[in-house]
Amino acid sequence: MQVFDVVWRILLMALITYLCRVLTLVLVRKKIKSRFFRSFLEYLPYGVLTAMVFPAVLYCTANFYSALVGMIVAIILSLFKRGLLTVALSATATVFLVELIMRLA
């Protein structure tokens, strides 16, 4: 594929992505009155983020079991309200260790 083709396709991607973000951010400016809609918006990020994580997290590493253990570690640490970085790095370290042990075993 020509360099030019790649560049304009990347720019097309950027344009669509930006339009998805900017339109409602600029157009919807008044505080929303509807109690139902405000509730919906409050819960939406949790719904979307959760749907992105589960069960995809189980398949994000080279190995199902390492991801499973990593996920469990992340959930337990989160229940104890550890910070974002602590949870992320602990999960990463867990996956690395589990895969190391599995290779050695």
Partner: protein, 298 residues
Amino acid sequence: MRFKQGCKDGIPIMLGYLTVSFTFGVSCVAKGFKWWMPVFCSLTNFTGTGQFAGMDLIAAAGSVLELIATMLVINARYSLMAISLSQKLTPKTTFGQRLLIAFGLTDENYAVAMRRQYEVTFDYYLGVMTTSFSGWVVGTLLGALAGNILPESLLSAFGIALYGMFIAIVIPPCRSSKAIATVVLTAIGLSCLFYYTPYLKNLSSGWAVIICGISSALIGAIFFPVKDEENSDDGKDGEAISSDNNSETNSQHNFDIENSDSNVSTKTESAACDENIENITADDTRIHTKGEDKNASL
């Protein structure tokens, strides 16, 4: 000051992005792109899933229509996030500032901004997005340049980093909020349904996330509507207590003035008044704390 705080809050995102964009850079070079192409993509797009999916399609010489459709499906959630972020921004945020904020509207920046207890200012968001964006671009560059140097095992382990961050965002508030716990559990159930059930699993993951996210949030909104903002921060109990105290203070205050010629009486009354003020302060603190809890769960 707020910019600094934003930068600080953006650091965990930056570290998460470094690893994810690193893998993005590696995978693009592995697909045959020149090193600067993924960097150019990260500079202009600043989105995770979209970039992975888009570059895949370009590499596979997919049609332009397919590229447009995929990007729309994957990024549609941003327009929903933009609505709720728009509610959280201070009203004085200008049009130009919104144009800039929109560029930095990623899942993680959004989540961090929404977790904040106060209204989000332009300075704060700019801090978050500058920090995370630098991690995103630098990570891509490093990944594209040093692609095959890292051992496979380490790359695999880093795959879970961003998911870990998401988990750390959605799980903690489940402990204090039944509503959020319900939403999260519903989303997990639906998402697994779309992932494992025949036919349903043929749906692209972008669509599945949109459907599961919207349905679970709807269920939350139906069964656990948020409290009205016009009333006090915290349900009717808090309001009743604080208004009771207010009326008592007023009456005591009046009484105090009426009896100001009598020293003894004034002392007693002012003591009573002090006590009352203490009560109010205690109640206010309690209400405030509850409010914080509620906001912390945001």
